[in-house]
Symmetry: C2
Subunit: 541 residues, 2 copies
Amino acid sequence: MLGLMQQQKLLISDMIEFAEKHHGDTDIVSRRVEGDIHRSNWATIAARSRQLANALDSWQIPVGDRVATLAWNGYRHLELYFGVSGSGRVLHTLNPRLHPEQVVWIVNHAEDSVLCFDMTFLPIVQKILQDCPTVKHWVAMCDADKLPTDSGVPGLVSYEAWMSQQSTGYAWPELDENAASCMCYTSGTTGNPKAAVYSHRSTLLHAYACALPDVMCLSARDSVLPVVPMFHVNAWGIPYSAAMVGCKLVFPGPALDGKSVYELLEAEKVTLAAGVPTVWQMLLGHIKAGGLRFNFLKRTVIGGSACPPAMIQAFNDDYGVEVLHAWGMTELSPLGTLCTLKNKHLELPPDEQMKIRLKQGRAIFGIDFKIVDELGVEQPNDGKAYGDLLVKGPWVIREYFKQEGPSPLVGGWFPTGDVATVDPEGFMQITDRSKDVIKSGGEWISSIDVENIAMAHPDVAMAACIGMAHPKWDERPVVVVVKKTGSALTAAELLKFYEGKIAKWQVPDDVLFVDSIPLGATGKMLKTRLREQLADYCLPS
Amino acid sequence: MLGLMQQQKLLISDMIEFAEKHHGDTDIVSRRVEGDIHRSNWATIAARSRQLANALDSWQIPVGDRVATLAWNGYRHLELYFGVSGSGRVLHTLNPRLHPEQVVWIVNHAEDSVLCFDMTFLPIVQKILQDCPTVKHWVAMCDADKLPTDSGVPGLVSYEAWMSQQSTGYAWPELDENAASCMCYTSGTTGNPKAAVYSHRSTLLHAYACALPDVMCLSARDSVLPVVPMFHVNAWGIPYSAAMVGCKLVFPGPALDGKSVYELLEAEKVTLAAGVPTVWQMLLGHIKAGGLRFNFLKRTVIGGSACPPAMIQAFNDDYGVEVLHAWGMTELSPLGTLCTLKNKHLELPPDEQMKIRLKQGRAIFGIDFKIVDELGVEQPNDGKAYGDLLVKGPWVIREYFKQEGPSPLVGGWFPTGDVATVDPEGFMQITDRSKDVIKSGGEWISSIDVENIAMAHPDVAMAACIGMAHPKWDERPVVVVVKKTGSALTAAELLKFYEGKIAKWQVPDDVLFVDSIPLGATGKMLKTRLREQLADYCLPS
């Protein structure tokens, strides 16, 4: 016996239509590449998305073709989100922080037929265009009069000249809700990058979940600033959830320094911001130096990598901003867990609450997870047992784009490559990446734990812990440290700092001071590169 | 090109599994028919839902068969919600306030094969059992030792004896997400009742939407008391959303008087309550009489019929409780709109905010609506033009159960039978039922407007406005009034009270004082009955 409900498909075009109809005059504010502030609203974004769809039709771009972007967070990128996917093409957000060779590899693998770029990235386009034969159209995301005559890009058109003359009338097609809507390549620290291909259905379900009170808690009363890039897993899904709830959006463009972000937060009365720890570090630095405070910001979502405890404390204690610690992956659209307290935790003393907030959080309905040992046996949720973290759900990938060979799933579950514990309340905590965990004498040492202690030392700017081969213990931890400017910290002092904070056998065998630690395109430390750099290193005997 | 995401179905069983795993020890508190307070939690509810599924299997109840309930809000009813639907049967919540003849008609129409009832409703069961040949099993929702030996119900078993011996192990089936999960008959003030048949998919999408910050804003930090009955459109979907977010649930059982509800709100630290205006009237009366206040309650969802302005004001101004005015229908699962302010409204003065709060609210993403005139032409969203309200969305019915004849949809839209305005911000306001609106001299008079003014008079307990045939104007309004005890209010005084509050031609032609106004099973005024009672009435000339 079937239900007798309307068979309405879950489509991205419904989100922008809803935002236009019910929240048409709500602001969309963007700092542009040129530095000025641009104001739009949901009604205008919707109308221009339809113009964009007509513009793609005028070039006869087939449904399913990939339309790539190399762009900052801004209104034109938002229009591409809805115009490309809504009309049945697949939005492919390229990461401009990758090496041009990697961009070439990815564009060819995705077989992009259109590539739209912010003028900042013209140098990348100039480097790659000869090697991207599938790209038939290059679009500079600028006004017609800003298009350089000597760009060196054949047939280059400006976004505005291309789309703004089109009709704002367009009937969004009734697509299959499982049709591809967008794709994103993993940062790929090892091997070739791999792409997650999202569907309209997965994107819309993720958007519902992302907006829930225990997740980002997005409402029409919010002004939201995604610092997390729109080229990085769809800015954690915020553009979609924002359309779904009709909140105001504030885009920082290329200016991610503390001063610029702070100015926007205040001027646009931002209530929620979202980004990776490195950006927040710059923001907190700016605020502290200037003796400033947040007048509107209430919550900040921090993810991408584990948030240092000191940062959560600074936001909470010094500035009254609630930190929502999140965990996700490209393969999860990206949200998997978010750390919000339960009813029973509300009366705990602040330090007990802080212990919970340090964890990556609880599963969002839709996502299920479990931890398993090396034999695949599920481990208890006791907050102590750790295991490889596996997930499943309607916004988790089942396979990668064009990936030959066996499915990445293990019995229907996606192995995240993270090692985690889960406490009896369901709060998950990442203890390490599977490949970074240090196996010493049959026990596992979390590289993240070792790094967090070093980071808590006032003289340490950045720390990476890696395992070094050891004849007796298999591996032993060493910590690689960038000191703060002017610090005279010694290895012995830092090792002494570990006393009482960690079991003795988990204390690193050595401290190596360096000028910098290699970072990947999304700001994560590249431990593989670090291991290569330290290939000739010998542990102290 | 299809997306490459996991094809996980949207099933009700996933909700209870999630609640068990991630919120297992969160309280489910019920006041029982016996009067005592019963404490359970999500883990126990989940385990007993599985026992219930095994118990249904043991009786070989086929997938798709209807399992009916005649029950108050309580933990056993909650177990039936998940055990029946999760195992593939269709939960059919019967309204015990209907006349037994109507219950018989509905049970036969639904072809229920099992009927579970609270002991309160044994007299109904005794009256109907001879006329319900499809019902093979009657289950009394009580302990084994509470089962009366002389019930007169052949083969009657107690719920506990039936299910509590079953295994708690059960693998929920992988159903079609469009399979029927539950059904609910409309109150049917005219003609035979008609049933909406919900699916797993529609129920789950509705649950996501219901929990959103701009809707009920449900989180794991909430303690929620649904006064709205679980036999009335699934208690507005709260049981499902509650499992999805892992909040605490508090069930009032049969005790809906002000004192009992207030005691539960305080004892269980309830943060959100939901119900129809009549129940809140009793609660406010109790609080006012005792000089009490709410120590925990933050928000209350009021729907089912238009909320009197005085009630919104009392909750807001006197007790600091935010009223969330909601609108929905059985055919909408039931939520269509909910009234929460937008960012731009937060700085309005309180009386301007109140004007907005009186409206039924904005569309929830998933629901789309429009207003049309008698020719089906869409009317402007200017807050003035009114029209028949049409809706569509994935949790709106496309047809009624076993309904012959043409589809109720008009060009894909469901006509709600309500007349409404929509303002430029998207806030919808019901001005009347299509069949209640009074057509006087080519203009429409809202019966609700006329009633609200009467209700604002301190001597009026209840008021109903109906149109009476008039030789010149087609129809003219009269207002039927129940005075408060001891009041000496006269018709002339009440008519004078209308002066300046409404256009002169909209003032009723007469006031009729009566002892009571007929109410339907869900507490709504039965204007059809009232019209019958006044069949011999003549307007004053």
